[in-house]
């Protein structure tokens, strides 16, 4: 009975079939796109040819201007995530640790979470000006909520006994946080940070599209106003690749080095 070898062989065959299907799908999509572009059915500029898009991507990546704008956006998102992340984490830990605080304030954060943060932008402009400050503020406001919520629930799902162990060895508060709470809730917190990164990207970029003269969002709106469609597609593609990549990297960081009992 050689079930082991059979299953392995079957697994490899499925893997090949999956790759085949993916290639087919991608080919169909790209082919359909090119056909649509060439037919002129939608007005041509809305669906530029693949070569036009490819060239636009090339021009984009070769242009120093692009990188300086990218750097600004990445910087804004980074600072926003850092500030919002630390505040969110601290708030979440506090709420998760103390039942009174949780009952008093957690619903507030939970229900404010799913509101569209971009509507706060006019207020952010008034408080922080029209420059990077308001964009960073948008990032902070966006990512604070998912991180705080996941930190709070992460705290609560920590095995009670691990906290008792810390107390029985008389660990200080800081030791409890750094040696027990944080390692124990690594996975939910990382998921919260992934979500936070996603909404921080959205918040910062939307703010840039609304009112800015620098950054990726600005480049996108500029392409829109000059009706340079290939360039807009190029920008969006690069943006999406970077976002999905960043998300995957954080996810990898959360999975490795943590063994569950």
């Amino acid at each position: 009975m050689n079930h082991g070898a059979d299953t392995i062989a079957a697994g490899a065959a499925t893997g090949r079939r999956v790759t085949f299907v993916r290639v087919v799908i991608i080919t169909l999509v790209l082919g359909g796109w090119e056909a649509l572009s060439l037919s002129g059915w939608l007005f041509r500029d809305v669906v530029p040819s693949l070569t036009a898009i490819a060239r636009a991507i090339g021009r984009l990546l070769a242009n120093a201007d692009f990188y300086s704008n990218l750097g600004i956006t990445v910087g804004e998102i980074g600072v926003g995530l850092l500030i919002g992340g630390i505040c969110g984490l601290a708030t979440g830990i506090l709420l998760g640790a103390n039942r009174f605080l949780s009952r008093a304030y957690e619903s507030l954060i939970y229900y404010l979470g799913p509101t569209p943060k971009i509507i706060f932008f006019p207020v952010m402009i008034m408080w922080f000006g029209v420059g990077s400050g308001s964009k960073i503020a948008m990032g902070v406001v966006s990512c604070f909520f998912p991180i705080a919520i996941s930190a709070a629930s992460g705290m609560r799902q920590i095995d009670r006994v691990l906290i008792l162990v810390g107390r029985s060895f008389r660990a200080t508060t800081w030791q409890m946080v750094s040696k027990i709470y944080l390692p124990a809730m690594r996975e939910p917190v990382v998921n919260g940070v992934r979500l936070g990164l996603g909404v921080a990207i959205i918040g910062t970029l939307l703010a840039e599209t609304k009112l800015s003269n620098r950054g990726m969002g600005y480049l996108i709106i500029q392409a829109y106003s000059t009706f340079d469609m290939p360039r807009m597609y190029a920008l969006l593609i690069v943006l999406f690749v970077l976002s999905i990549g960043a998300n995957a990297v954080i996810g990898r960081f959360g999975g490795a080095g943590m063994r569950k009992a």
């Binding site: 660990a171 569950k260 009992a261």
Partner: protein, 290 residues
């Protein structure tokens, strides 16, 4: 140690030992809780003391307040009547002289075995090299030499409890307090682990208080066994175990062992029955489960 059943309360109280060498002294401790059914008394006027190097077990049916006692002596629970002192020092919150081993899985899943055992030393601020070295000594003591770099997820339940034990021993507590640490293990593993624990205890002359519901374990390991009543928990009876040291698990087959077990079961059985009857009447009367 003499025992005189008090005719007034029906509980056993201890006559003060003339040696007066009490490392742990539990003095008239009572704990009441307010539940949906009204106030219940978990522990009622319990007093006992432990001399240095002694191994004492507290045995009782579930619901007799022994876990509450564990939490009180360990300093995890306040707000009770009475007093607990360690070497004359009153307990107010967790005390460095008391080391606790919990019933549930308590190893840190994100740390290796040796990192787990080194935890109390890390808290105390010992340097990395020193504490790893020290921890390795205790890892070997519980028989897990060679497993230092493994993660708890890779070990069996019994091995994980040994890690927890090593971790507490590493903090070199004057009193080792254990709450049914082997409850989740099968009988055979328990007996063998019990051997090892006893060996360690005798080598270190570690004063130990064990909370258990297991008769065999209590008699196998202890110098003295305190039998608790079902709620409210009082000390019903104290049994001195005069089995010779060094003991190993072979002792379970001896006649003397059988006598002690019978003696304890005689009192325990009554309390356990009361517990079962209470459970049944709860269902019938629609009261909430314990």
């Amino acid at each position: 140690m003499m025992v005189e059943p008090s005719r007034l309360s029906g509980a056993a109280t201890e006559v003060i030992d003339s040696r007066d060498s009490r490392l742990l002294d539990v003095d008239r401790v009572s704990k009441r809780f307010v539940t949906s059914e009204g106030p219940i008394t978990a522990v009622d006027d319990v007093s006992f003391s432990i001399a240095p190097g002694e191994f004492v077990s507290i045995i009782g049916p579930s619901g007799c307040g022994k876990s509450t006692l564990f939490n009180i002596v360990g300093g995890l629970v306040g707000d009770y009547e009475g007093r607990v002192t360690v070497a004359g020092d009153t307990i107010r919150g967790t005390h460095p002289a008391i080391g606790m081993v919990f019933q549930e899985e308590s190893t840190f899943p994100w740390r290796t075995v040796v990192e787990n055992v080194a935890f109390p030393l890390e808290i105390a601020g010992m340097s990395k090299q020193d504490r790893i070295e020290r921890a390795e000594h205790f890892v070997a003591m519980v028989g897990l030499r060679g497993f230092e770099r493994r993660y708890p997820a890779e070990l069996s339940g019994g091995m994980r409890q040994r890690v927890a034990l090593a971790r507490t021993l590493a903090s070199e507590p004057r009193i080792l307090l254990m709450d049914e640490p082997f409850a989740a293990l099968d009988e055979q593993t328990r007996l063998l682990l019990g051997d090892r624990v006893l060996q360690i205890q005798q080598t270190l002359k570690q004063t130990t208080l064990l909370i258990t519901h297991n008769l065999t374990e209590a008699v196998q390991l202890s110098d003295r066994v305190l039998v608790m009543t079902y709620r409210p928990g009082r000390v019903k009876r104290v049994v001195d175990i005069h089995l010779p040291h060094p003991r190993d698990s072979e002792v379970v087959s001896s006649d003397a062992f059988g006598h002690y077990v019978a003696e304890i079961w005689h009192d325990l059985r009554e309390e356990a029955s009361r517990g079962i009857r209470d459970d049944e009447s709860r269902v019938l009367e629609g009261r909430p489960r314990r």
